[in-house]
């Protein structure tokens, strides 16, 4: 049985301006001990997806359909109370913004203690010892003293680590990390990434890491899902995405990014235009107004929504170009420019 499986998840928000299709038919699977990286443009639905898995859109105005199976249980149809009871132990999340996830009036320690005691029948004293232990593991210096600090007394990096300690305090089986290192300096980021790797190894947890940083996903992920306009446009192993990407948007991402491990290129190869509106999603392929290869699909790009199709062994692509055309473009037009 697959540990986590999403089937055609849709999360739509009715707003005054119209229906926002934040997530529009997303499916993927994740096994224990594996890491899935999710990348994509700002507003492409990454955070909404993770909040839906945690059940945090339940009871709100979001319209949710599809299925989320976690360890044999379906969560979209489950009650709010039930999903809440799974949070902490079965699944936990590291939020994009640590301050919003922590309560300003309680000490960091109290917040970890409370989270721990919901799932573990232990005394306050035992829980506090555990909290100190966790803070030490995430690299907070003098954890026995810092456990009594308030969130605002921590630096940004320490807060992020404290939140990670909180998320990990009950050894969750599924950990979702939403931009866990975006606000951090590279040296602190490196510490946090090491930590997540260790914890995953120790507990065989399933990990979803959401980020716009292709370097971070390349370091951590087994599989990578690329989102654009609420949909998965490419999915594959880390090698598929970095070595043999087949979607024009993925090419665009790779070309936009200067790389330290390559010779300096004369020019970056940006994607033209700006991210799509999710209310008036472009017709056909949502990427078509920005896609340099749209003319090669004979007008289909702007009229027909392409399906997500397997190109080879678990590598999925949503594009009207044929497999041969895509591979040819990558090999002759894109790859040489990236490596020049």
């Amino acid at each position: 049985m697959t540990f986590l499986q999403l089937n055609d998840l849709k999360v739509h928000f009715p707003t005054d301006d119209g229906l926002v299709k934040s997530v529009d038919g997303l499916s993927f699977q994740l096994e224990r001990g594996k890491t899935l990286g999710i990348v994509g443009e700002s507003g492409s639905g990454k955070s909404v997806t993770s909040l839906s898995i945690l059940g945090l859109h339940k009871g709100g105005r979001a319209k949710i359909s599809g299925e989320i199976w976690l360890d044999g249980e379906e969560l979209v149809s489950a009650s709010q109370e039930h999903v809440r009871s799974l949070r902490g132990k079965k699944m936990a999340m590291i939020f994009q913004d640590p301050l919003s996830a922590m309560h300003p009036y309680y000490t960091v320690g109290d917040q970890i203690i409370e989270a721990y005691r919901i799932h573990n029948d232990v005394s306050k004293k035992v829980a506090k010892k555990h909290a100190i232990d966790m803070l030490g593991r995430v690299g907070i210096p003098q954890p026995d003293r810092r456990v009594d600090s308030y969130p605002h007394e921590f630096s940004g990096g320490m807060r992020q680590r404290a939140m990670i300690a909180m998320a990990l305090s009950c050894d969750p089986e599924l950990l979702i990390a939403d931009e866990p290192t975006t606000a951090l300096d590279v040296t602190v980021q490196a510490q946090i990434l090491d930590l997540m790797r260790d914890l995953q190894r120790d507990f065989n947890a399933a990990l979803i890491i959401i980020t716009h940083d292709l370097g971070v996903v390349a370091e951590l992920s087994d599989d990578i899902l690329v989102m654009y306009g609420g949909k998965c446009i490419e999915y594959g192993s880390a090698d598929d995405i970095f070595e043999r990407p087949e979607h024009p948007y993925t090419w665009g991402l790779l070309g936009s990014m200067p790389r330290l491990d390559r010779e300096v290129t004369e020019r970056l190869l940006p994607i033209k235009g700006s991210p799509p509106s999710l209310i008036n999603v472009p017709s056909g392929c949502a990427f078509h107004p920005r896609c340099a290869f749209e003319p090669r699909t004979g007008g289909k790009g702007s009229t027909v929504v392409p399906d997500l199709v397997e190109t080879e062994g678990g590598h999925l692509v949503r594009c009207h170009l044929s497999r041969e055309e895509r591979r040819d473009i990558w090999a002759t037009e894109i790859k040489p420019k990236l490596e020049s």
């Binding site: 443009e41 980021q189 090698d239 991402l253 200067p258 330290l260 700006s274």
Partner: protein, 337 residues
């Protein structure tokens, strides 16, 4: 010799920390603590370092948005360190700053035309065919549609807003632009557009840039020379190839090795330096070499003697007693008497 457009010597900014009813000073944040560097005409100097090391403060000092506590700033041969606002005015045209956040630095109630045209009005400058035409030309230059003249910032995407900010900066044809994190708030796909735009404009308009950023890959792409800051000090400065190819300061080495590489094949086997501990507070920086609390090479001398910024290879200077990759006498104290 290429001409020096800006020269900074021993520049300092100490922000007073006050306490109590009478605001007595109890200390100072040494945000910038004695830095020196030159910027050559037509080049791009990158300024990198971790959050809080004093990059933005340096930018604001150079553009005289804040008053230095010490040191000297020379722009095109003029000492502007403590120049009065009135005398500064013409110089303000020549030196402009692009701000960190494209969302908050544009007034939402003003049209694009008003925003980009403001520098003309403030400086009281008449243009040949009127301000509107001048503004529309600039909009076109930065890749915006001249018809955007009457629109408001919220109608634009992040990348377009950053272009509006750049257009405003260019209005008065500056010679030197200080760009503070010009792309960090933007989506990856948009970052590349703005980076290319900055490079094109530099070629077309013969601009000199100081680009402040924490993203080492972006800085490498865009800069001719790079200065690395740590806790208010410049610890290393050099030509791009030398600094990235053979970084000398342990901190620079740590920074570079911490950057995640977007290549899953390089996951294993990559040599990584892991720093422990947080950046110390600039309120109370460690004595002598400020990096010694986190440096794996630190010796007794590092805690007692501040290493000077010394040129160890042509155009490549480092402040460290035991630099890496130093040309000849590696592992020996680099201090010159």
């Amino acid at each position: 010799m290429t001409e020096t457009i800006l020269s900074v010597e021993g520049l300092e900014k100490h922000f007073p920390v006050t306490k109590g009813l009478f605001k007595s000073q109890v200390g100072a944040v040494k945000a910038v603590d004695g830095i020196s560097f030159d910027v050559r005409k037509g080049e791009t100097l990158g300024l990198v370092g971790e959050s809080g090391c004093g990059k933005t403060t340096t930018g604001r000092l150079i553009t005289r948005l804040i008053e230095p506590t010490g040191g000297k700033i020379t722009f095109e041969g003029h000492d502007i360190t403590h120049m009065k606002q009135g005398k500064l005015r013409p110089l303000r045209r020549d030196m402009q700053m692009i701000f960190q956040d494209p969302y908050s630095s544009l007034n939402p109630r003003h049209t694009v035309g008003a925003i980009v045209g403001a520098p003309f009005r403030i400086q009281g400058i008449e243009t040949e065919q009127g301000t509107k035409k001048a503004v529309q030309d600039i909009l076109e230059l930065v890749g915006l549609n001249p018809e955007h003249y009457n629109r408001y910032p919220h109608e634009f995407s992040g990348g377009q807003r950053q272009r509006i900010g750049i257009a405003r900066t260019l209005a008065l044809k500056p010679k030197l632009i200080i760009a503070d994190e010009p792309v960090s708030a933007l989506d990856v796909s948009i970052q590349a557009q703005v980076v290319n735009l900055l490079e094109d404009l530099q070629n077309e308009l013969d601009l000199t840039y100081v680009v402040i950023a924490h993203d080492l890959s972006v800085v490498r792409h865009i800069s001719d020379r790079v200065a690395v800051m740590y806790l208010g000090k410049i610890v290393e400065v050099g030509e791009r190839a030398g600094l990235y190819g053979s970084p000398m300061h342990p901190y620079t080495n740590a920074l570079l090795s911490a950057v995640p590489i977007p290549d899953p094949k390089q996951r294993e086997g990559r040599e990584r330096i892991r720093l422990t501990g947080d950046v110390p507070s600039p309120l109370n920086p460690p004595p002598a070499c400020r990096f010694h609390t986190r440096c794996w090479k630190a010796q007794e001398i590092c805690k007692t003697q501040e290493p000077p910024l010394a040129e160890l290879a042509p155009g490549h200077a480092v402040a460290c007693h035991f630099p890496e990759n130093a040309p000849s006498k590696t592992e020996t104290p680099a201090t010159v008497a």
